[in-house]
Structure formats: C-alpha cells, structure tokens
Point group: C2
Chain length 216, copies 2
C-alpha cells in the first residue's frame, strides 16, 4: 500500500504543499505540482481549501498554532519560578519551544522552522491580515517578559535584541546561511537541532545581556 494514500486527502495535500512551498515558494509552486505529489485530483485543493491562498494559510496555521501554544506555555511555566526575570531563561524557553517542535514528527519536525523562515521573507497578503491578530500574544508576552528581565534597556532596544535573537535562531534551524551564497560548500551543518541550539545559546545569551547601546 502506498504510504501517501493512507492519509486523508486534505492531509496529503497539506504535507505535499508544505514541502513544495518551502523549497520553491508560493509562486514557484503550482497546483499541479502539489496535487501530483499528493496523488490527488487537482480539483481537490479548491474543494477542501477554497483556493491556493486558502491552502497556504492552512499550511502555515497548522504549524504556527502549536508553536505559539507551546512557547506561551513554556513562558507561563517559567514565570511561576524564581527564574522569571532571567533573560537567559526566557531565551531558553523560546529556544526549547522551537526545539520541541523540531523533535516532534506530529508537528512536522524541523519543517515548521523552514516554513517560518520562508514565510517571513515572502509575506503573502493573507498572512498580513489574519495571522497577526490571532497570534499577537506571542510577541507581546515575550517582549514584556524581556523588558522586566532587562530593566536597564529601553523597550525599543529590547525589541531589537528579540529581533536579532529570533533572526539568528530561525535561520540557523532552517539552514539559511546568508553567506552560503558566496561559498561552494557550507561551513555549518544544521541537521542536528540539538547541536544548533548548543551553538546558539552562548551567542544569544551574551547578546541579550550585553550593555545597552543607548541609555534607557
């Protein structure tokens, strides 16, 4: 029996579309490629998701929802301990949420990070509208936590460091090395998420807790 065929039609579409969107982008992926990979009739996408746009949103939300839920749970748990105001512990809780997503096959393994990395560079209109208001809590809560943990920094500088941290993190997990463009064989290997996290932690910890660039 074909392994692909054992899953629901809509799930097969989501799985196939996810991988293709990651590798070739939204515009670089055609409905026929998706339905061929999913071994499904081409009309099935419109039947289940309404449109190609609707499919993309479904693909994204399938990963975003558990990630947001997981990282918020980690933060809530942390805030009930004595480490609530430790910036490194906060960074670790965010990192471990991504790590946990990456290690759970039911969440798509590391696929979700690559999807995120793809998506935030390639902002579809539909994401700009619906997603932010639904998941805005994530950035709000982490920003607040970091502001408490780093009182010597202005809110703006905290936001910048959160930005730097997540950029380094997501691109590391996704294997997106800027300078890969200039290098034949990559210098780093992102295959092992545990190792990536191990490399990340000292860099991020030191970066977050470094002296303020401007007075708060």
């Amino acid at each position: 029996m074909d392994a692909v065929k054992n899953l629901d039609t809509s799930t097969r579409i989501l799985n196939a579309a996810e991988l293709l969107f990651i590798d070739h982008g939204f515009d670089g992926t055609s409905m026929r490629q998706i339905t061929a990979a999913a071994e499904v009739n081409i009309a099935a996408v419109n039947y289940y998701f309404g449109s190609k746009d609707g499919l993309f949103q479904a693909v994204f939300e399938r990963r975003a929802e558990p990630f947001v839920r997981l990282s918020l749970a980690k933060l809530t748990e942390l805030e009930s301990t004595v480490q609530a105001n430790d910036p490194i512990a906060i960074a670790e809780s965010f990192l471990s949420a991504a790590l946990e997503m990456g290690s759970k096959p039911e969440y798509g393994g590391l696929v979700f990070v690559r999807l995120l990395a793809r998506t935030y560079i390639e902002p579809r209109a539909i994401l700009k509208e619906k997603i932010p208001q639904r998941y805005g809590e994530l950035t709000r809560r982490y920003q607040q936590a970091l502001e408490r943990a780093l009182p010597e920094l202005s809110a703006a500088e905290v936001a910048w460091r959160f930005h730097f941290m997540t950029s380094a993190m997501f691109n590391a997990f996704a294997g997106n090395h800027v300078l890969r463009l200039f290098t034949a064989q990559p210098m780093v290997n992102a295959r092992d998420p545990q190792r990536v996290a191990q490399m990340l932690l000292p860099f991020i910890s030191a970066g977050l807790t470094s002296p303020a660039a401007v007075q708060a």
Copy 2:
C-alpha cells in the same frame, strides 16, 4: 523629461527588476511587470540579458560585486593594524561595509541588503553554480580572520557565530522580522541604518566573544 527614460535601457530594466524581485520574488515577478515598470518593450530583457534567469543574475551581481570588494578591502586594511586580531573590530569592518553600501546611492542604498536577504532564502539554481566560486574569497578570508581572533573556539564554532552574526545583521537591515508575522505593527524600525548598526554592535560583539559552547 521622464526620469526613468534618461537611463540606458538595460539599467532601467535592472532597476525595475531589482525592486520587483525584492518585493515579490523571482517567480512572483513577471517579465511584463518588469518591462512595464522600466518603460521598455518586453523583448528588451531577452535582448540584453538573454533570459529572465540571466536578468536575475545580472541584478544580483551588480550589488554583490561592490559589496564583496568593499568588505574585503576593509578587512585587508584592518589586518595591517594592531586590531587585526580583535574579533569586534573584524565584525565592525564587515558591518561598516554593509553600512557604506547602504549609504551610497550608486550602490543602490539599502536595496542591496534586501536583495541579499531575499536571495539567500530563495536560492535560484543559477546562483548556486556561478556565484560561489567567484566570491568565495569573502567567507574564506573572514572565517580565517575570526579563527585567528578567537583561538579558544573551534573552526566550526567560529563558522556558527559568523552565521548568527550575518543572519541578525542582514535581516535587521532588510527589516525582516520573523515575528512580524505575529504582530500587527512592527516593534522595530529599520529605516535608519546608522541606528540599526548602533543596536547591532553590542549584541554581535558580546555574542562573538562569549565563552565557547564546546572545547576547541
């Protein structure tokens, strides 16, 4: 007189294509969009660049060449001073190269960073072949410089930190905030490159010089 029309046809095409590629990606940009924006006949692209792929390569190389040249010159200059083995000075020379590119209109201002950020997420086949061997010197030289400056780190860990540094840097300049996906209004403003660099420096400096995650 139309400002656009004063430039050569091929330059008008490059300028229009660059902006469109950045905003909508390679597959999301059509030849007709490009030639309409450039106020040029659609056949002109194939006449001057052979194909859409050829155009993309030309768009990329126009920015990559001066950036690579500039950053290598900065490094060479640094290596003749007493700061040759200061990791922070090395990071600063890389940062200042990007900053200088961003401040010079003849290099496209900050456009080149956005193009880089777009491109390394969306790797066209043509870039994987021709570019690396031509510009490989950039990563090689900076990697070697950082290895000398950070002898307590393994070469692999140096490569990782270079990766983290460039990810944070390019995405900051390009205004690509991962978590923008989850937030209605952006928390940081990447408009002023000087300010971005100011925010970046303490984070990157501390990150680069933090204790090793593993023994060298």
